[in-house]
């Protein structure tokens, strides 16, 4: 009985998939000139703040492009999909954008776990997936010559970041003993994996290793353990929303100001520093971008965003803003919204971003610098921009 049922279900399912594949293949996408751009981001759930910033950044870019007359006269229409920060929801949102909304391009997601799950979906549909904010190196290990032809990433990876942070901590601060407290996700775990890859180079070691679940609120136990372990710094690749909680509890267990946080979890925003000023003093962070970055284009963006939304932009707002502009330039250079042509244009693009010139390597990974900063007297101080060419596993 059950076998019969499931077989029937399977047949219907296969038929449906077939019809869907035929329909999307047989009928060309609507050619009314509008560029349909899907944006997958966590609009709800624990990372909803990232989603809100991403959407605002993208919308602002679209507004600017429209005000400047569109892309060769074409308007852009943004269709948002909510991934809730989970791979399952991210894949359904992607499917909906592709099958129902018939988008040609997708920007997404913020979370690496979600992006990794979206890649095969975009690849099967032949829809360009341009990632703007996930940093897990695997995403572009598997892209370009690595396999997925339709995945591109305009964001530096954790491998760059891990190396740059470790190098700065070892050479400038003289740290050799670390504790790990990262988020339990593809992002947090991979960043630590790459940190471990470079530990021997700096004769350093990890003394304790812990990963927290998203939404965790009690770090006291683990912070007391770190205090007693003799670690000189806490390597944290985590969620921005957890940082104030960790900071407050660092003050409680008495390690604030003694064991700094290093890595990346939005240590540099005003809100975070205000929540636990003593704990964040001396924190070292490598960021793809930050509002204080000194370049004319970046400053103009911050000013405009703040005027429009009455809130300073974060990193996600910036990267989505920049990536929409990058895509618009690729479409403009392709002189078409034909996906194949746009993809070719993207591969050979030279785009002047706010942090420097953007080009893509053969793994469809953008070559981008990272900005290193340290919290000094309650303010982020920029210590320079560093870049590293990625060594892809053969």
């Amino acid at each position: 009985m059950t076998i019969e049922l499931s077989r029937r279900g399977f047949c219907i399912g296969t038929a449906l998939v077939g019809v869907q594949a035929m329909s999307s293949g047989a009928f060309a996408r609507t050619e009314d000139g509008t560029v349909k751009l899907g944006l997958v981001a966590p609009m709800s759930g624990p990372n909803a703040r990232y989603g809100a910033f991403s959407l605002r950044g993208a919308q602002m870019a679209v507004k600017e492009i429209t005000a400047a007359g569109g892309i060769g006269g074409r308007k852009i229409n943004i269709l948002a999909g909510d991934s809730q920060g989970t791979p399952v929801e991210g894949v359904s949102a992607t499917r909906r954008l592709i099958d129902q909304d018939q988008v040609d391009y997708i920007i997404g997601d913020v979370s690496s776990s979600v992006t990794l799950a979206m890649q095969p979906v975009a690849e099967d549909a032949g829809v360009l997936l341009l990632n703007a904010a996930s940093s897990n190196p695997k995403i572009t290990y598997k892209a370009g010559v690595g396999g997925f032809k339709w995945t591109y990433r305009n964001y530096p990876t954790d491998e760059n970041r891990a190396l740059i942070v470790l190098q700065y901590a070892a050479e400038k601060k003289g740290f050799t003993k670390y504790a790990v407290l990262s988020v339990d996700s593809d992002y947090g775990r991979a960043a630590i994996e790459f940190t471990k890859k470079y530990l021997p180079r700096f004769k350093s070691q990890i003394l304790t290793e812990d990963y927290y679940k998203e939404g965790e609120v009690d770090f006291r136990s683990v912070l007391s353990k770190i205090r007693d372990s003799g670690a000189q710094a806490i390597i944290m690749y985590g969620n921005a929303d957890s940082t104030p909680i960790v900071g407050r509890q660092m003050m409680e267990v008495g390690i604030a100001g003694k064991i700094p946080l290093i890595g990346n979890a939005e240590f540099n925003t005003e809100k975070t520093i205000k929540a636990a000023p003593k704990a964040l003093e001396g924190a070292i962070e490598a960021a793809a971008w930050l509002p204080a970055y000194d370049s004319a284009k970046s400053k103009a963006f911050v000013e405009k965003f703040t005027a429009e939304f009455r809130e300073a932009p974060n990193n996600h707002a910036y990267v989505h803003w920049e990536t929409v502009h990058l895509l618009a330039k690729a479409i403009e250079q392709a002189q078409s919204i034909d996906r194949e042509k746009v993809r070719a244009a993207l591969s050979s693009i030279h785009y002047a971003s706010a942090v420097g010139d953007v080009t893509f390597d053969d793994h469809n990974q953008a070559r981008l610098p990272m900005i290193l900063l340290e919290i000094e007297n309650g303010k982020p101080a920029i210590k320079g921009a560093y870049s590293a060419e990625i060594d892809y596993p053969k």
């Binding site: 624990p46 290793e209 407050r248």
Partner: protein
């Protein structure tokens, strides 16, 4: 080594106190309504939001915000109690599950709709660390432990001596007999529910300063942490709940230290499974009550 263990036990007692205040409301509601209140974490969230709203929009001091958070939640509980919870009395178990899950979704999404899904920053409370017997704790945590104790002593006195407390015990033992001797079952159910929701809100407001972030989905985690506690404590058993909450708090704290933070949330569910296998009526009663 010894010092570390003691410190982790203290940490466990702090989180145990938070669990206890939330769980005791849920277990009392179960006692009277025979329904697991899956929306219980939502009242915790509502309390926190009420206090956050008072601080953020009206600049009120934290003690006033505590009162506003709890009162606002109690008012919502009156509405939900009258419309939904009273009808669950005597209804089949699945009605309670569906109704409370529905209420949870409505409350959570209403808050997200009104305030947005993003994390809010809770700025009230007493977060300065103080040193007691060699341990440093935020003042707020000491407050949590003290309030937790007061709540439990108060509840014990209430169910033992007050009229409504005795009625609550009577209803949790036999609804039909209560109706026969003239106890207004629906009235008792409503008051138990309001009390439970108010306690959840109190717990939310008290923990907000140390948890810093306030967001619409924060109640879910609490509901799922509370569930194993009330089952371990024996559904409807106030004293059992208190001990079970402490056991879970301490066990979680030790696991986070000696096994790894990532295994912390498994403690509750692992204990839940063990309890369901060997002592499905809870750790503290000799036999099943219902």
């Amino acid at each position: 080594m010894f010092y570390t263990i003691i410190e982790q036990v203290v940490n466990g007692i702090v989180s145990g106190s938070v669990y206890a205040i939330v769980a005791v409301g849920m277990t009392m509601i179960f006692g009277v309504l025979r329904a697991i209140n899956f929306a219980h974490g939502e009242y915790y969230m509502l309390g926190t939001f009420g206090a956050w709203f008072a601080i953020e929009y009206f600049d009120l001091p934290y003690p006033v915000a505590i009162v506003i958070g709890v009162v606002a939640t109690a008012v919502i509980a009156v509405v939900v109690g009258n419309i939904v919870m009273q009808r669950i009395v005597g209804a089949p178990a699945e009605a309670g599950v569906l109704a409370t899950l529905g209420v949870a979704l409505i409350l959570q999404n209403t808050v997200i709709l009104v305030f947005g899904g993003s994390y809010k920053f809770f700025s009230g409370g007493y977060i300065e660390p103080v040193t007691l017997f060699g341990f440093t704790l935020a003042e707020q945590r000491i407050l949590i432990i003290i309030v937790g104790l007061i709540v439990f002593i108060g509840l014990e006195l209430m169910v033992t001596y007050s009229r409504i407390g005795k009625a609550m015990r009577a209803v949790s033992q036999n609804i039909e007999c209560c109706a026969v001797v003239g106890i207004d079952v629906r009235h008792v159910a409503l008051w138990t529910f309001i009390l439970g929701a108010g306690l959840a809100a109190l717990s939310g407001v008290l923990t907000a300063p140390v948890n810093v972030s306030v967001y619409g989905g924060m109640g879910e985690l609490i509901t799922f942490k509370t569930l194993p506690i009330i089952i371990m404590g024996g559904l409807g058993n106030v004293r059992g709940t208190f001990v079970a909450a402490m056991i879970l708090g301490i066990a979680e704290s030790l696991v986070a230290t000696y096994v790894g933070l990532q295994f912390r949330d498994t403690v509750g569910f692992a204990t839940l499974m063990l309890v369901l296998m060997w002592r499905p009526h809870g750790l503290f009663s000799a036999q099943a009550r219902f």
